[in-house]
């Protein structure tokens, strides 16, 4: 026990901390500028100099460690004079432009000068003049105001790990710059903005549009983008979101945000938002998405945002009453005429648990069908259930921050720093803490974190993984803890020769990788969507499960949608009821029949891909799509479009008129994430609350559906999201007895208070797919960029400014072989279509791969990608899409 006296107050400490931390623990505030609780100690600003008895010089409280018996004085005449002197030094080159500075009101320098008194104007020389840099679309840099505390640099390098900015030059000439000197060209997390104490680095999104004290409301909610589930503080003025900031201490993201979370909010206020229900007037063949050519020449949305033209061609506006009774009537008619199986619904990983629960209940109770699925089927759902079948329910529900405490993180199938950026930071932190990063493949976001990489030839990952299992099982003893898996492991064997010859991996690299992997004591394995969507995915998942078992690791499954986990938990799948009760189990069906007071269908429904097929062949007559855009988010999107055009009655409920919406018979405007209450369940299976921040013109998804259900004579009486949550927790054994209050108190973390589920584990089935050979061909793969996620991000102007258009990425060798230059427009063709795109030469790519994102309307990868269905996981397999690139216009 250490006892120190600070300002006469005796403080007892368990372990040595800095004087500043000791003072803060006792509520004594020592002024600081360069210090920040998220950052490494620095000791540069000198503002926290304090008197310490028996020390000849003043010491910086932020760096000096306490010792037993130490006596510290933080506010004396001497320290006040020193601080006045330091502030004078800071002010001699700092412009006195507080009246026009956005930071005024929350500026730490301004506040300190207020406390210690203004400078006396003794500086007669000219102040340093640096023009404000507006070269970047997102971040304004004003180096006149910079006080060189370097918080931004330490954030960027030491926490974010992007190392995109640094101090340039030295001494009085020091200033902060991104590499280019102008545009940032970085990860645009904006965490530098969070930590800047003055108005030197600021967001352009709300430039000169408000003063901090004019903020009317601050709402704590959860990010709408990916499955990490970061806490956001949404700041509102005049019912408009002005700014999104993080909160230090929030459980998942602790004061950090990524680019989507921080800058992606503007879609809420987009002029393209749907405001009234729409009823189709145009024939089904007309949609505005149409052919490639028409889309290119006539963008469906005006640049300014108004979409009046397209809407009035296709639809007429309707009242809610009319739209709801029309939907109820048509659905009832189709049910009557064609039977329950002719109707299907697609749920949304962007909607809340409450929305999704109501959606599946509506499909099952009102429409009598289990034809419910979602885009989680494209990878996440099947991969998770495969893994859970081996290791038990909740096998992937691991705490994200646990990654930074791992001694090893093994990454495959996607760059975590772009798919789930805040999770990616935990992997970078693992490296910084001395942990090893092992990757199968090249991941740019981990490049500076000393990854030990094995990069097998495209489509030979399975052999490499077999090789790893083969070596590991000889190094580790099988414990018989999981006999089902061990039986499989015993059959796995491949030779190092195959790894060398087929994967083209050097034996030395392989052995080094294996040594690190086998010596790890606290490893984590992170699996991305590309593995789940690959040829032979189930076998690779088995191999990864085997590796995980042999090294006793934790599994993380990347999830690019905010509530992908939650929608599955809510039973938005053709084979499961809420809480993973299989529809085929009589017992679980009965349970829900009694709770919902309704008979339920017993037959497993269609997956999303089966729905598309059923639509194509005409057996599916009606479809209800909630907050999803299948025409865009499913591979082979032109076929999906044609199939949906074939549906007699299509209802689309969304916040924008999406490509799918344009095919609809009725379009219903929903509320966005910022306009409603509810809960999301993140990839850790942490249930967190969304809170309404602003008003919107539509209705909550659950409310629209409840209205329709009531119109159909069903009892769907809920007055708010909490009502629904309470029903969920009554109905779902997984969520047993949870309340909003429990969640508030941190009780929303798995395994909640629930009962064990999925008792009888099924046999492990794998599909041994035929290996694709890559000889000399190019293959189309999906780029999953940091800045986009699809429908939302492309209506977020800031994100569009950062990543404005679709590009095709090829390796330097490919570019050379085809003599393409950076930026040159080329035609990218597969057997199902072609698109013209500018080339980007990407050093991280191999010579077999061509990368394209699925984020830009009319130029999305899914327009060019055919798919197969993996027989075990029932996910789409995107491997094997050969592609040709040629000069455009030929």
């Amino acid at each position: 026990m250490i006892t120190v006296t600070i300002d006469g107050k005796e403080i007892k400490l368990e372990k040595p901390v800095t004087v500043l931390e000791a003072a803060r623990s006792a509520g004594i505030k020592i002024p600081t500028l360069c210090w920040h609780e998220q950052l490494e100690r620095y000791g540069g600003c000198r503002l926290c100099l304090v008197e310490i008895e028996k020390m000849p010089r003043l010491q910086t409280a932020c760096t000096f460690m306490v010792a037993d018996g130490m006596v510290v004085r933080t506010e004396t005449e001497q320290t006040a004079n020193v601080r006045r002197g330091i502030l004078e030094f800071l002010l001699i080159n700092h412009p006195l432009d507080c009246p026009v500075c956005d930071k005024a009101g929350e500026c730490e320098l301004q506040n300190l000068v207020g406390k210690y008194g203004p400078a006396k104007g003794r500086y007669k020389e000219k102040k340093r003049k640096v023009p404000e840099s507006l070269e970047d679309p997102i971040i304004v840099r004003n180096m006149e105001r910079c006080i060189m505390c370097t918080r931004c640099v330490r954030m960027c390098e030491g926490v974010q790990g992007a190392s995109a900015i640094d101090v340039i030059s030295r001494g009085g000439h020091s200033h902060i710059e991104p590499f280019s000197g102008g545009k940032y060209d970085c990860e645009y997390c904006g965490n530098c903005i969070s930590v800047c104490p003055v108005g030197a680095i600021m967001s352009r999104l709300h430039r000169h549009s408000f003063r901090p004290w004019q903020m009317e409301n601050e709402i704590e909610t959860i990010c709408p983008y990916c499955g990490v589930g970061c806490t956001l503080i949404v700041q509102v003025r005049d019912d408009v979101i002005k700014r999104v900031v993080p909160r230090i201490g929030s459980v998942v993201n602790n004061g950090l945000l990524c680019t989507r979370g921080r800058f992606g909010y503007e879609f809420v206020g987009s002029k393209e938002r749907l405001t009234t229900p729409l009823v189709r007037i145009a024939p089904k063949t007309q949609s505005g998405v149409g052919s490639q050519e028409s889309t290119l020449s006539q963008p469906p949305f005006d640049k300014g945002g108004s979409q009046g033209g397209v809407i009035s061609e296709l639809f007429r506006e309707a009242t809610w009453e009319e739209a709801i009774s029309l939907v109820a009537k048509k659905l009832s008619e189709i049910k009557e005429e064609y039977g329950n199986p002719a109707i299907a619904g697609i749920a949304s990983p962007r909607c809340t648990n409450e929305d999704n629960y109501i959606f599946q209940k509506f499909m099952r109770v009102a429409l009598g069908t289990n034809n419910i699925d979602s885009t989680a089927r494209t990878g996440f759902a099947g991969a998770q259930s495969f893994i859970e079948n081996i290791f038990g329910q909740g096998a992937t529900a691991n705490i994200i921050s646990g990654l930074s405490n791992s001694d090893l993180v093994f990454v495959i199938g996607g760059d975590p720093t772009t798919v789930n950026p805040i999770l990616g930071l935990q992997i970078r932190a693992c490296s910084r803490n001395g942990g090893n990063i092992l990757t199968i493949g090249n991941f740019k976001g981990l490049e500076y974190f000393s990854p030990q990489k094995l990069v097998p030839v495209l489509y030979t990952e399975d052999i490499l993984l077999e090789g790893i299992v083969t070596v590991l099982k000889n190094k580790k003893r099988l414990s018989d803890a999981n006999s089902k898996l061990e039986a499989k492991i015993k059959d796995i064997s491949t030779s190092i020769e195959d790894v060398k010859n087929i994967c083209k991996i050097e034996e030395k690299d392989f052995n080094e990788f294996l040594n690190i992997l086998s010596e790890s004591t606290n490893p984590s394995i992170v699996i991305g969507k590309e593995t789940a969507q690959s040829n032979g995915a189930s076998y690779k998942l088995l191999l990864l499960s085997a590796i995980n078992y042999l090294i006793n690791g934790r599994l993380y499954l990347l999830s690019d949608r905010a509530n992908e986990q939650g929608l599955l938990d809510m039973g938005c799948a053709p084979d499961i009821l809420p809480g993973y009760r299989p529809v085929s189990y009589v017992e679980s069906k009965r349970r829900y029949e009694s709770i919902w007071e309704s008979e339920l269908p017993g037959k497993t429904g269609l997956t999303i891909f089966e729905m598309v097929n059923a639509a194509k062949n005409g057996s599916l007559k009606a479809m209800y799509v909630m907050g999803e855009n299948p025409v865009y988010n499913l591979p082979d999107s032109k076929t999906v479009e044609a199939a949906l055009r074939n549906i007699e009655f299509l209802v689309v409920q969304d916040i924008f008129l999406t490509e799918t919406g344009k095919l609809a018979d009725v379009v219903l405007p929903a509320l966005s994430w910022a306009e409603k209450d509810g809960t999301f369940t993140n990839m850790e299976r942490r249930i967190q609350r969304l809170r309404k921040a602003v008003n919107g013109n539509g209705m909550e998804d659950w409310r629209i559906i409840s209205e329709i259900a009531r119109n159909m004579g069903k009892k769907f009486d809920y007055s708010n999201a909490e009502d629904i949550f309470n029903e969920i927790c009554k109905a779902s054994p997984l969520h047993k007895d949870l309340t909003y209050e429990d969640i508030e108190k941190g009780g929303g973390i798995y395994p909640y208070k629930g009962e064990p589920l999925r008792d009888g584990m099924e046999e492990i089935q794998v599909h041994n797919a035929e290996r694709l050979s890559v000889n000399g061909k190019l293959y189309l793969r999906i780029e999953r960029p940091l800045f986009h996620s699809g429908t939302l991000s492309r209506r977020a102007p800031a994100l569009v400014k950062i990543y404005p258009e679709a590009v095709v990425r090829i390796s330097p060798d490919t570019a050379k072989a085809l003599s393409f230059k950076e930026g040159e427009v080329v035609r990218v063709s597969t057997k199902i279509g072609s698109i013209e795109l500018p080339v980007v030469i990407d050093k991280a790519l191999d010579n077999f791969s061509v990368m394209l994102t699925n984020n830009f309307e009319g130029k999305s990868a899914y327009r060019l990608m055919g798919y197969d269905i993996e027989p075990v996981t029932r996910a789409s397999v995107l491997d094997g899409n050969t592609v040709a690139i040629e000069k455009a216009g030929l």
Partner: protein
């Protein structure tokens, strides 16, 4: 891109350190020699070679006075003007370089033959005033001696 020879040289230097990033200063010297000065290309080449983020490489490079960030003449005249040299007439020599050769501090002659860099102490105080031309020391300078010296550099 660095030349093959430069990459080989860098790889040898790299072996002297336990961390690749420790080879940054020597790598920047090599890049400066290869590119003439440290511009974006040079930093990117070093960044690729060592795995040091490019913004960090540039931050480090701009911290040190001997890395050049704009094109230089074929020969760099590095005149010391610190106290020992100053009190023995270094400032007059800098005036001489300006008047006779048109060499301003930090400037380059139009024929790209010389650039002038004013140095802090170069450790030739006992033989002040002194300068370095490229890597060669010249001491006990006079105007006449400077004329003779610069004749040697074409």
């Amino acid at each position: 891109m660095l030349s093959k020879a430069a990459i080989k040289e860098l790889n040898e230097i790299r072996q002297k350190y336990p961390d690749a990033s420790a080879a940054l200063l020597p790598a920047l010297y090599i890049a400066q020699r290869e590119f003439g000065y440290l511009g974006a290309d040079a930093y990117e080449a070093v960044s690729d070679a060592l795995g040091v983020p490019r913004a960090i490489a540039r931050g480090v490079g701009t911290f040190y006075a001997m890395y050049k960030h704009k094109p230089m003449g074929r020969h760099i005249v590095q005149l010391c003007t610190n106290v020992s040299c100053m009190i023995l007439g270094a400032e007059k020599l800098s005036d001489f370089l300006k008047n006779k050769y048109g060499l301003e501090t930090g400037g380059t002659t139009p024929d790209k033959r010389f650039s002038l860099v004013i140095m802090e102490c170069i450790g030739a105080c006992g033989t002040a005033p002194a300068m370095l031309v490229d890597d060669d020391f010249y001491e006990n300078l006079t105007e006449k001696y400077i004329e003779e010296i610069l004749e040697k550099y074409k």
